[in-house]
């Protein structure tokens, strides 16, 4: 149901509303929020460096388009795999607990950014001069690809909620030692969730790079991408399918509305909103419904 409504919305809204870039970004943040939800909402680890996967995906796919002349679709998938590869390298971070994990992950994303932006590697990555992909420029195709990615993310996240695997992840989030004692392979389950989450960010980054087709390291490694995704998940309510969608819709909508009409108040409004949320609604909007006994998908 949720998936169907989302798809219909993104298929038909473009006919009545012509800001395709905004819609693209909205889909992208919904997918990212859903990807983040898989790792945060279901295991409790909050990766501050989530954007690292996004950037790895954008660059991974751009480089195979430029050097190997891949067509965009396989390149987007490869972007996802590049992110999975980065994710595998970071698996040892799970030995760290809570806040240390988040910060180490942030450091890793920054390190990746500096490697890619390094002028000495410009012959490979174009370094700080950025990437340009005129040969595959096709915003419409990229738009539909992003929609497919969003649907994939939603289905994955929905399956997780209902499946045995989702239950195991929930147990890990609550208490890893007890989860092992219930027979759950904690290390492997966490790694799977982590890599799925990385994959979603990677393909999203790749599709984003394709859509805008000219970008710089700081565009796709921008911390604000992580911050947005985290805030959207927290606002909507983590651990649910609907929460990250609603969070993105409301806050990203508000961001564009306030940001465009009265940019001078935007930061203030948004900042206040976040503080109020954390203080008064830490489990997100959907928790209001759940408290009334309504089961939120």
């Amino acid at each position: 149901m949720v998936v169907a409504i989302t798809v219909l919305a993104y298929v038909f809204i473009p006919y009545g509303y012509n800001n395709q870039f905004l819609l693209f970004n909205m889909m992208m943040y919904m997918a990212l929020a859903q990807g983040l939800n898989i790792i945060y909402g279901y295991t409790g680890y909050l990766p501050f460096g989530y954007v690292g996967f996004f950037g790895a995906g954008a660059y991974g796919s751009a480089l195979v388009i430029i050097y190997l002349h891949w067509s965009p679709f396989p390149a987007v998938l490869l972007g996802g795999l590049a992110a999975v590869l980065v994710g595998m390298l970071l698996i040892p971070l799970f030995r760290l607990s809570g806040a240390y994990f988040s910060i180490a992950n942030l450091a890793a994303a920054e390190a990746l950014y500096y490697i890619i932006a390094n002028p000495h590697l410009a012959s490979v990555t174009q370094g700080p001069y950025g990437i340009s992909l005129p040969q595959v420029y096709d915003p419409n195709a990229a738009y539909w690809t992003m929609l497919a990615i969003l649907v994939f993310a939603l289905i994955l996240s929905g399956l997780m909620r209902r499946s045995r695997f989702g239950l195991a992840l929930g147990a890990i989030r609550e208490n890893p030692v007890s989860a092992e004692m219930a027979g759950v392979n904690v290390v492997r389950s966490r790694a799977i969730a982590w890599l799925l989450s990385a994959f979603i960010a990677g393909v999203s980054g790749a599709a984003f790079g394709w859509y805008i087709s000219v970008f710089y390291p700081e565009t796709v490694f921008s911390l604000s991408i992580t911050v947005f995704a985290i805030v959207f998940v927290l606002f909507g309510g983590s651990g649910t399918l609907l929460g990250p969608l609603v969070g993105t819709l409301v806050l990203y909508g508000a961001y564009n509305y306030i940001g465009i009409s009265t940019p001078q108040y935007f930061q203030l409004t948004y900042g206040l909103l976040i503080i109020l949320l954390v203080l008064f609604l830490p489990s997100g909007l959907t928790s209001l419904l759940r408290k009334r006994g309504i089961d939120v998908p």
Binding site: R164, L167, A168, G170, A171, R173, E174, N175, V177, S178, A179, E180, M181, A182, G183, V184, N185, V186, V187
Partner: protein
Amino acid sequence: MSPDTEPVLEVEDLHKHFGGLKALDGISFCIAPGEILGLAGPNGSGKTTCINAITGVFGLDSGAIRFAGKTINRLPTYRRVRLGINRSFQVPSPFLGLSVMENVTVASVYGGNKKRDPDHILEITGLAQIKDRLAGSLNSSQQKLLDLARALATDPRLLLVDEIGAGLNPNELARMTDQLRALAAQGIALLVVEHLMDFLDRVTDRIVVMDAGKELFSGQLYEAAEDPRVVEAFLGG
């Protein structure tokens, strides 16, 4: 109890230190299927550490743990669980944000070879009426029962219970006694860590008393009470 059967668990000369502290310092014992072995000792003598070592919560410095004849020292916890080892925690540790039913379901899905019906487990542990409540909303004796239920859902052949009697009222204690005895009667080997001598007396007859990671005494409970070293360890500790 059948003393002539092969032991299901043999621990031999376990050593484990935390910094300069020798938490386990050469402890050894065996448990046969269907047997209930008591493990007593003053605070900090290494009882919980023993359970942690057997379940693989952390590694050992040296020593051997054999389960059903197989050395399991290096297996990760979840593999030991699937072989048939489980435990309850001294501080009950259910999944607080999951329902009682979900707590048991995870264990029955992931934990054993033989799938145990979660409803049946909840029935025998007396949690069936509250199966839809969040574990976090249970009181501490209910959480202890849930810990036990989660362990049973993995269909264990060896069950290690850590001070499960502490904090239970006399009625609950009597029920727990019956429950543990019934489990042993099904052939499950039990290690019962307990401070309450009275409780130990009702569930077991053979005990090991530990002090500073070592065995101080091993034998019948009534003899332990007369052993001067045991008396001194408890009074001195």
